[in-house]
């Protein structure tokens, strides 16, 4: 339960603390109807009482509040689940509140009841609250026959999180190993399919067009032409800072473009046809991965003419 607020020393010389508290608390006789309700609560059941008009009042009263007539002696078990009708968020709970963290006061109509009772809902945050939300009581470990035997109501389970994780040890195959070794040397290695006369980069040992074995290694230049590109404006913690340019770059001597980052130039100045060169990280910082190329930056050469049809253009 929340603790009492610290008692502050009087902030004014003529200010004094004054407490009105009947020693031991007031005693209240419940009468038969409220008494039945509280007795059932102690046994972790919630009951209402039926009116002459056949409505079920929860919490029960000795009378029908609409007509003033006495209720019938019929008690009806309701809930324990119910539906939130309206709510107000309490962001700073006071000491007498049922929870010591932010919660909602809500009117809750329990299943089988025709009226709503007021209770606390422990929902985490106001975004979780909505009229129509389904809740159930959270009972205290020890019950004594008071409304606070229900500590609060809590949302029904509508979502679970499923942590799923697979962990692999990844080892590059022979072709990628060969490519990455040369990346470490500052060289972009390709392979030429003899049948198609096409140079693939990164180096690979099978031709995706004809299926033949690629046996000839072929170094390609670290300069090339931007065939096309996107300017990415959606931030992602795993990606470069936005805006960044992801470009298809046809390296000189290659027949298939590769996707890479373009840097060293404002994003909106990147052009199709722009000539670029790889910016390598210093040899001592290389890790034999594509991260060894920081990005591709403009060479300053005149743009290539794409209208004639660049091999692999627009890939």
């Amino acid at each position: 339960m929340p603790s009492d607020p610290p008692s502050h020393p009087p902030s004014h010389p003529l200010e004094a603390r004054h407490v009105l508290e009947f020693p031991g608390g007031y005693t209240r006789s419940t009468g038969p109807v409220i008494g039945r309700f509280l007795t059932e609560l102690r046994d972790r059941r919630i009951v209402g009482v039926r009116t002459a008009g056949a409505r079920v009042l929860v919490p029960p009263l000795e009378y029908d509040p609409d007509t003033g007539e006495a209720v019938t002696g019929e008690y009806v078990e309701v809930g324990p689940a119910g539906t939130v009708q309206a709510w107000a968020w309490v962001s700073a709970p006071r000491p007498a509140h049922p929870l010591d963290r932010p919660f909602a006061w809500a009117t809750i109509r329990l299943d089988g009841a025709d009226t709503a009772l007021v209770h606390a809902v422990d929902a985490g945050g106001p975004k979780a609250m909505r009229p129509g939300m389904r809740v159930r009581p959270r009972w205290r470990d020890r019950t004594s026959g008071t409304i606070t035997d229900i500590e609060c109501f809590v949302p029904e389970v509508t979502m679970i999180t499923a942590p799923i994780r697979t962990e692999y040890r990844v080892r590059p195959g022979a072709a990628l190993t060969r490519f990455l070794e040369r990346i470490g040397d500052g060289v972009l290695l390709g392979g030429r399919c003899a049948g198609c006369d096409q140079v693939y980069v990164p180096y690979r040992t099978s031709c995706p067009a004809c299926g033949a074995l690629i046996e000839e290694e072929r170094e390609v230049a670290d300069t090339g032409t931007v065939t096309t590109f996107a300017i990415n404006n959606l931030p992602d913690p795993r990606a470069p800072e936005v805006p960044f340019v992801s470009a298809y770059i046809l390296l000189d001597g290659a027949d298939i473009p590769m996707i890479a980052l373009v840097g060293g130039i404002p994003a909106h100045e990147v052009r199709q046809g722009m000539r670029v060169r790889a910016v390598w990280v210093p040899p001592e910082e290389r890790t034999m991965s594509m991260a060894d190329i920081r990005w591709f930056a403009p060479t300053g050469e005149p743009d290539a003419d794409l209208s004639a049809g660049t091999p692999g253009g627009g890939a």
């Binding site: 067009a209 096309t228 404006n233 199709q272 991965s289 627009g314």
Partner: protein, 382 residues
């Protein structure tokens, strides 16, 4: 093409950002039950079930077809799963149809779904292996350069993409199942939204949706209700990394269209087809696919869009349902195209019905525009 096959039932869920009120099984059952109701059948009448969805990493449920087999009434029956990336919904319909065309079964339930709210598609599509350089570009970042290249080659004016975005979202207002509803959308609104992956603006891209779509396919002797007859069915694929690959207008798409048109006896798609539901997840893919599918000469697809030919009241309406731009439960998006094509020729498309539609194209593509699936359906028996 083997035995005759018809769509006799279609069921969809109302597409939305988050269907938090149902499990994955509940979601697919909702679509399946509606398709069965449409056909006047029950699960007991079904011979086999074909399930399609995009990568398992989207929901983190490996082999969801195994989990869903009994939820879809598949106990004791053949159940299989199809996966061809974004085109999977279309491919799933075609695999289902092939079971009937091949004479194996008489009634097949086809269901495709995605519950994108269970994770994040860009995350699921951007799982970078070590040794590469992470750019985390997702689908938008992947397709944006190809759109840019299309714009350069065709000389299309910049506003064509916005026109498609407006047209499809206005159509969506006539479709009770559509996800995005933007009353009053116009070109200025689209053009005022930020560039996500330039040249793709926010309102020129598809939403992330939860949803499922189902169809019931029947052999000729098992037809109940109103059939949409399949006149052509084709799939094609091509390698992603091949020197000289044409990515603006992929050869696999052209080949797939030629095949499906040949089967259906279509010589001029713009003239012979009454309505098309085509996979357009980014607005510029309408003019690009108009060319790839032979509705317009190379570099001139945008002129059809600009002239309003693809509008609901145009001479060749494209995506009267609102298309992928308005609803995108990825794994189901292709099947929705196929199902909407069937609804049109059955005369059951409601407010977005194209009057007198007799022949319709359903189209889907996926991966890096490397997988294609298409069918032609008609209200006439082949």
């Amino acid at each position: 093409m083997g035995e005759r096959c018809a769509v006799i039932g279609v069921g969809q869920t109302r597409y939305t950002t988050k269907r938090l009120d149902v499990s994955i099984a509940g979601l697919v059952r909702e679509a399946a039950q509606r398709a069965l109701d449409d056909a006047g059948l029950t699960f007991a009448d079904i011979d086999a079930v074909v399930v399609g969805k995009a990568p398992d990493l989207f929901e983190g449920v490996m082999m969801p077809e195994a989990y869903l087999a009994d939820a879809l009434g598949g106990a004791g029956k053949p159940v299989m799963r199809v996966h061809t990336a974004g085109s999977v919904g279309g491919s799933t319909a075609l695999v289902g149809a092939s079971l009937i065309q091949g004479g194996v079964h008489d009634r097949v339930l086809v269901v495709a779904f995605e519950k994108q709210s269970e994770s994040n598609a860009t995350w699921a599509l951007s799982t970078h292996l070590p040794f590469g350089a992470s750019l985390v570009v997702g689908a938008g970042g992947y397709f944006a350069p190809h759109i840019r290249e299309y714009m350069r080659r065709s000389g299309a004016p910049d506003h064509i993409g916005a026109l498609v975005a407006v047209k499809d979202r206005r159509n969506a207002l006539k479709n009770p199942y559509a996800h995005l509803r933007i009353p009053g959308i116009d070109r200025a609104m689209v053009e005022s939204t930020p560039m996500l992956w330039e040249p793709i603006r926010y309102l020129e891209t598809c939403p992330s949706s939860d949803g499922a779509c189902a169809i019931v396919l029947a052999s000729e002797k098992a037809v109940t209700g109103t059939p949409a007859w399949i006149h052509g069915a084709a799939m094609r694929s091509e390698p992603l990394a091949r020197a000289g690959r044409e990515t603006v207008s992929p050869q696999a798409g052209k080949d797939c269209a030629a095949d499906v048109y040949r089967q259906a006896g279509i010589s001029d798609p713009r003239r012979d087809i009454d309505v098309a539901e085509v996979y357009v997840p980014f607005s510029w893919y309408e003019p690009m696919w108009l060319e790839n599918l032979g509705f317009a000469p190379e570099n001139e697809g945008w002129k059809l869009t600009e002239a309003g030919s693809t509008a609901l009241d145009g001479d060749i309406p494209w995506n009267p349902s609102g298309g992928v731009l308005s609803s995108n439960p990825i794994g189901a998006s292709g099947l929705i195209r196929f199902a909407e094509a069937a609804l049109q020729v059955r005369g059951m498309a409601g407010e977005h019905q194209v009057e007198g539609a007799a022949t319709a194209l359903g189209h889907a593509y996926g991966g890096g525009a490397q997988f294609f699936a298409m069918w032609i359906v008609s209200n006439r028996k082949p």
